[in-house]
């Protein structure tokens, strides 16, 4: 399951979606808005996506992961819009028979999402804002 959503991510339904009798291991990664970056105090983050392409790129990454590891089920959900500290920006969940594959696939998916999926985040500070990683 791949999703982009403006609503809070419901990890409980993600967990239930992943359940399957052959699964022995489930790994979940949550990317969460934290209160600082490079010593600067963050108030909130604003995530923007090029929706159709973001979905497509996330699907490609999931498909690649399914080729490399014996994935029984996966879920990839990315949030958009303004998120406050502590809110979940991204959830990756992978169910596999054994744990090595669950860890490796989850990590591959989040690492690759950060490289290729057209989603941008703006950090909103008390004294300004900046698009992350956009300028040298």
């Amino acid at each position: 399951m791949i999703a982009l959503t403006a609503d809070p991510i419901d990890f409980s339904s993600a967990y239930h979606y992943l359940q399957t009798d052959e699964a022995g291991a489930i790994d979940f990664f949550f990317g969460v808005v934290r209160n600082n970056t490079q010593q600067r105090s963050v108030n909130q983050l604003d995530y923007e996506a090029y929706g159709p392409m973001a979905i497509r790129e996330m699907q490609k990454i999931a498909d690649q992961a399914c080729e490399r590891w014996p994935i029984l089920k996966y879920v990839v959900i990315h949030r958009t819009g303004v998120l406050r500290i502590g809110e979940m920006a991204v959830l990756i969940g992978v169910a596999t028979p054994h744990r090595d594959a669950a860890f490796e696939a989850t990590r591959y998916i989040i690492d690759t999402i950060k490289q290729t999926v057209p989603i941008w985040k703006k950090e909103l500070f008390a004294d300004g804002e900046v698009w992350v990683n956009a300028t040298p």
Binding site: E48, Y50, A54, R56, T116, W120, W131, N133, A134, T135
Partner: protein
Amino acid sequence: MTQPHTVLLFGITRDLVGQSRLSVPLTKGSRVSDLVAHLNAQYPALTGVKSILVAVNSEYAEPNTLLDPSDEIALIPPVSGG
């Protein structure tokens, strides 16, 4: 003779240009590299972005990819999801 090509802007590129969608006149047979040169000339602030890729119909395109007025074209500044 030029044809209008629709270009979608996101993130820092939208902020720098001040619009989320541009109509860019390009001659027939123009490629991604021609579009980028055109935009850099018209909006010099874009050259301050670390890198800008171009997507055509929701796929990353190469500099020599040919553009058609029916394409959905988007500028992709450095992504920062997750």
